[in-house]
Structures are given as structure tokens and as C-alpha cells.
């Protein structure tokens, strides 16, 4: 079953915030992540699909049927909330069985289904406990089981991992992906965590000020961001204002850089973009700089910050005219770097 937004717009009453002309489709078994800063409209996208708010314009389509005017209960979508929203007065199996209860399934049958679902998320042994007795991760598993037990047409995850600590977040991320893949259900994930989105989504939509800025696979978003905002929001990046000086050469604050300038003409203003891990530490850089010059992409400078992140280091190198951010797994001191021409992308000027 597919979930689709067709030119959907919505603004909150008495406010300018909302979403504008959004078109998206989530195919069967696909996981689409919506990312964006606070207030970008990503949660509104989920609310519109869930039926918690109705669009001002456009259509919400589930399985080729316009559901824009349907109530949340009529849409058959499983929702996992940021705070899980488990019912504290119900035992775990009762929580999971609730969607079956409202659909008139007999008590024995719904208990069996609930326990089976709890088994799928590794919580069968706690079926008779109350939610208060569980950790955040365990509550998350139960919320996931509850959202899937009635075989919904789609699964909506509203910042499901944001309340968990870092190590548990990675574990639960894999768990959600495993359960989602096993269910083969169209899934919408709303998150502010770009790493979470990159790691489990088939497609990612980047939102800004209520508008869809870019939609693509994680690789497309990371390697070829549409603009400087996406480049800066998804992962770490070096973004330098620049101007095309000649074919194959762009002028930036740190100097001239050789790169592919196709699609631009001399004098065009651009933003030069390169990922920090594509910057190469150069341990004989001083000599190479002297030999090749700055246009050869070699820079030397002083270390402004050297952050130890375990497997890698993130270094800010002060060079003449600006700052170069790089990531390296090397442990040696880095004072010179090489900016490879094939790693540079030119984005529209801000």
C-alpha cells in the first residue's frame, strides 16, 4: 500500500507556520524519513497523514483512496509517538491488544495476538507488567508492537528515538528497521537526527520553513545536496562562497580551487561544497604547496580545533583566508591538507 501527499498545504490557525505544496509518496515496504530543523513542518506532515489535522489544500491518499476528510481512527495507520503514549493503567498485552479491542476482537484472540506481537519485539516475558515498570527502550518496543498489531496500512514514527540514550538509540534503530522490513509496511519517520535518517531510510525528505527542499536517497542527499542548507543540515561540510574564475577554476576565500565547473560560466557566484572526510591530510604539504601552489589544492595552516571522536578526529584548520574542516582516522598532527578537485561540488550561491 502506498501513502501519498498531493500538493498538500496546511497552516495553523492564527499562525503563519505550516507546510506548503508538499507532494510525497511512500511505497509499500519503503521507509521515508522527514528531517528538518525545529519548526520546519516535519511533524505537521505526520499529523496530516495521521488525520490529527486536515489539509487546507491538496489530498492525502492511502492505497489510492482520498482520506483527507477521514478521522484518525478510520485511516488504519499505526503511530509511534515520541513519548510512546502507552496507557499506564493497562498491562503491556492490554496496551498492544487495544487496537484489536476497539475492533471487537475477542479477549482470548486479542491476548494471543498481543503476546505474539510482544514476542516479535522481545517483550513477551513482560506481557503482564505495567508500562511504568519498563525502561524507555522497552516502552519503545511495546509502542512499536501496539502500532503494528492491527496490520495498519502504514506506520508513522514521530521522533521515536529522541527520548533514548545514544547507545540504546542505535540498538532501537536497528530494531525498528528489522520490524519494519519484516512487516513490509510503508513507513514515515519524522526525526531531527540526520544520522538516524541516513542509516535506516530508503528516501529522505529535507524540510525547511514548511517547504520540501530536497527528496532523495541518503546517498543522493549526502553526495549531491541541492543547496547549502541541505549540505549543512545533512552531515558535516565545508561551505565556502566562491566565484567561477575560468573554466575548471573557482575562486574562494582560501584561494583558487580546481574543480568541475560545468553548468556555470565565469563570473557566476556559487557555494563551494566539500565533505570533511574528502579533505586529505598531507604530511609533505609544505613542499607540495610550494611546488603546486594553492591552485593545486594544497593548503597549510594552524589547528584551530582538534576533536577526538573515537574512530576519527574532526579538525578545524585555519588557513589563510578561511577555515578548512577535515575528518581523519590518522593520529598524527595535521597542518597541511589537499582538497581534491573531484571531491568539490558547486552549489547555488546563498
Amino acid at each position: 500500500m502506498t501513502l501519498r501527499y498531493e500538493n498538500v498545504s496546511f497552516t495553523y490557525p492564527g499562525a503563519k507556520a505550516g507546510i506548503f505544496d508538499i507532494s510525497l509518496e511512500i511505497g509499500k515496504g519503503e521507509l521515508l524519513a522527514i528531517i528538518g530543523a525545529s519548526g520546519s513542518g516535519k511533524s505537521t506532515i505526520l499529523k496530516l497523514l495521521a488525520g490529527f489535522v486536515s489539509p487546507d489544500r491538496g489530498r492525502i491518499v492511502i492505497d489510492e483512496k482520498d482520506v483527507s476528510a477521514l478521522s484518525p481512527e478510520a485511516r488504519r495507520l499505526g503511530v509511534v509517538f515520541q513519548n510512546y503514549a502507552l496507557f499506564p493503567h493497562m498491562r503491556l498485552w492490554e496496551n498492544v491488544a487495544y487496537p484489536l479491542k476497539v475492533r471487537g476482537v475477542s479477549k482470548t484472540e486479542r491476548r494471543n495476538c498481543a503476546v505474539e506481537m510482544l514476542d516479535r519485539v522481545g517483550m513477551k516475558s513482560r506481557a503482564d507488567d505495567l508500562p511504568a515498570a519498563l525502561s524507555g527502550g522497552q516502552q519503545q518496543r511495546v509502542a512499536l508492537a501496539r502500532a503494528l498489531v492491527f496490520e495498519p496500512q502504514g506506520l508513522l514514527l514521530d521522533e521515536p528515538l529522541s527520548a533514548l540514550d545514544a547507545s540504546l538509540r542505535v540498538e532501537m534503530r536497528d530494531e525498528i528497521l528489522r520490524v519494519q522490513r519484516a512487516s513490509g509496511i510503508a513507513t514515515l519517520l519524522v526525526t531531527h537526527d540526520q544520522e538516524e535518517a541516513l542509516s535506516i531510510a530508503d528516501k529522505i525528505a529535507v524540510m525547511r520553513d514548511g517547504r520540501l527542499i530536497q527528496l532523495g536517497t541518503p546517498r543522493e542527499l549526502y553526495e549531491t545536496p541541492a543547496d547549502a542548507y541541505v549540505a549543512g543540515f545533512v552531515g558535516q561540510s565545508n561551505l565556502w562562497p566562491g566565484m567561477i574564475r575560468a573554466d575548471g577554476v573557482v575562486e574562494t576565500g582560501i584561494g583558487s580551487l580546481a574543480c568541475d565547473t560545468r553548468g556555470h560560466k565565469p563570473g557566476d557566484a556559487v557555494t563551494v561544497f566539500i565533505r570533511p572526510e574528502r579533505i586529505v591530510p598531507s604530511f609533505d604539504g609544505a613542499q607540495q604547496s610550494a611546488d603546486a601552489g594553492r591552485a593545486g589544492g594544497y593548503f597549510s595552516g594552524s589547528v584551530a580545533a582538534d576533536r577526538y571522536l573515537g574512530p576519527i578526529r574532526r579538525i578545524d584548520l585555519n588557513v589563510q583566508g578561511g577555515l578548512i574542516r577535515l575528518e581523519t582516522h590518522l593520529r598524527d598532527a595535521v597542518t597541511s591538507v589537499h582538497v581534491p578537485a573531484d571531491a568539490i561540488r558547486l552549489l547555488p550561491a546563498n
Binding site: 503511530v79 502507552l86 493503567h89 511504568a132
Partner: protein
């Protein structure tokens, strides 16, 4: 680090409360009890008096119906207040609490001015063709008395129930809706069980207030409606005063109120213990 008060300090803090309890509760109740028990026939006379049984019946009816009505109205008001912005909520709460500052007699007088036989609303409705004798008689009936009681029972319900509704995680209702429950079903299955202790507590408190209320009833219905406080009044003030029987009736009234309040406390504690 916790700072523990000494026993002497605790005793000093408790003393005013103990004195008040002794002087204004234990002593009067003891006196009433002595009055009822010294005359061995007081309880017998009371039990054999059909007026007492009618009064008890009337008290139990009004002590159930008025709080139930107030509970429904108060719950709806609390639901609305919980959704208001802080400033609007404060203003609305002040307005809702205002009736608590009036004495029962003033409330009764207000109702008579509004709904009595020559009341503003009665005369207005008379213009529209409604019989003023019927409309004006309503407030002097048991139902009218129940409505008048609700005037100061509803604010009590709101004040007790509002914190429970305010602390309730509304995401649970949204979750229930997304899982297939309609709005009413979600409220019944998810919200009501969690705020039930406060609803029971509100019912019990308002029931005890309604059962013991006297001024409003006397001013509105005189002795036309049979309820225990008015039976008690008649045994003290009318010809044929029977103070021992009045004391016995007082003890019955106190016992009913204590029972109801205890029930409310027990349910409230159970709710707190289960984390609801």
C-alpha cells in the same frame, strides 16, 4: 540532605490543629453523642418516626443526584479549562470559584430573585407564554434544590478534577484515536480510568457537602422537602422539641458524611498508590 524537625517543634506545629479539632469537632460531637445516648429512647423514637426515614431517603437522593449532576457539569468545565491558555485559565478559574465565597442563604436568595415566582427569568418566560406558577415553583422543588446545590458544588468538582486532567498526557487520547478508537471511546477507555480517583473524590466531597447543606435548603424549600438537616431543624425549633432525637439524627448525618468522605479518601489513596 534532609532536615528533620524535632519532636517538640512538630508538637508545637500540631497544637493549633489539635485544639481546633478538639473544640470545634470532638467536643460538639461528644456533646451530641451524650445527648443522644443519655436518653435511651432517642434512637428508638427516631427509627419509629416515618419523617426520619423520608428525610433519610430525601437526603440520600439529593446527596447522590446533585453531586452526580455537578460532576458531569464540573468535568466538562474542567476539560475546557485544561485546554485554555494560562491567562485565560486563571481568569476562568476565578470566575468558576466565585460561588464558593457566597453563603448558602445568599445563593438561595439569588435563585429566588432569578427563578422564584416573581423572579426575573420566571417573568421573562411568562412573557413567552410559560406558566409562572410552574416555572416559579421549580426552584422550590427537590429538583430545584438540587440545581441550587450544584451552584456551589460544581466549583468544588472543577477544583478537584482540574489538576488530574491537567496532568493527563493528552497524547494518549491521540494515540487511542490513531489505534482505532473514536473520540468518546478513547476518553472512556483511556482518560476516565486514569482520572477516576479524582472523580470519585470530587463526588464524595460534594455528596458530603450536599447531605449536610442546610441554609440553602431552609431558605428555598422551608420544610416542604424532606431531608435530614431539615428534619433535624424541625426537632430543635418546632413545638414538640426533641433534643435527644435531634442528637441521634445528627449522629446519623455525621456517620453518613464520614462514610462518604472515607470512601473518597480510600479511592484517592488507591489511585495514588497505583500511580493513576
Amino acid at each position: 540532605m534532609s532536615v528533620r524537625a524535632s519532636r517538640k517543634a512538630l508538637a508545637a506545629f500540631a497544637l493549633p490543629g489539635c485544639i481546633t479539632l478538639g473544640l470545634f469537632f470532638l467536643l460538639p460531637v461528644g456533646t451530641v453523642m451524650t445527648g443522644a445516648l443519655t436518653d435511651g429512647g432517642a434512637f428508638v423514637r427516631l427509627v419509629n418516626d416515618p419523617v426520619f426515614w423520608n428525610g433519610l431517603k430525601g437526603t440520600l437522593i439529593i446527596g447522590t443526584a446533585a453531586p452526580l449532576f455537578s460532576l458531569v457539569v464540573g468535568f466538562c468545565i474542567a476539560l475546557t479549562l485544561a485546554r485554555l491558555a494560562p491567562k485565560a485559565k486563571t481568569a476562568a478559574l476565578i470566575a468558576v470559584s466565585l460561588p464558593l465565597t457566597f453563603s448558602g442563604l445568599i445563593v438561595a436568595y439569588g435563585f429566588i430573585l432569578l427563578l422564584g415566582r416573581a423572579g426575573f427569568v420566571t417573568l421573562l418566560l411568562a412573557e413567552l407564554g410559560f406558566d409562572p406558577a410552574v416555572v416559579g415553583g421549580f426552584i422550590f422543588s427537590p429538583f430545584g434544590l438540587g440545581i441550587a446545590y450544584s451552584y456551589y458544588l460544581v466549583p468544588r468538582v472543577v477544583l478537584i478534577v482540574l489538576p488530574a486532567i491537567g496532568n493527563f498526557d493528552r497524547n494518549q487520547l491521540i494515540a487511542a484515536r490513531s489505534l482505532g478508537a473514536g473520540a468518546a471511546r478513547a476518553m472512556i477507555d483511556v482518560m476516565l480510568p486514569q482520572i477516576a480517583p479524582s472523580l470519585v473524590a470530587a463526588f464524595c466531597l460534594t455528596s458530603a457537602v450536599a447531605i449536610g447543606a442546610y441554609g440553602t435548603a431552609l431558605a428555598l424549600v422551608g420544610t416542604q422537602v424532606n431531608i435530614l438537616p431539615l428534619v433535624l431543624y424541625s426537632k430543635i425549633s418546632e413545638t414538640g422539641t426533641d433534643l435527644p432525637a435531634a442528637s441521634a439524627a445528627s449522629l446519623v448525618l455525621i456517620a453518613i458524611c464520614v462514610l462518604i468522605i472515607s470512601l473518597g479518601e480510600a479511592v484517592g489513596r488507591k489511585g495514588k498508590a497505583s500511580g493513576a
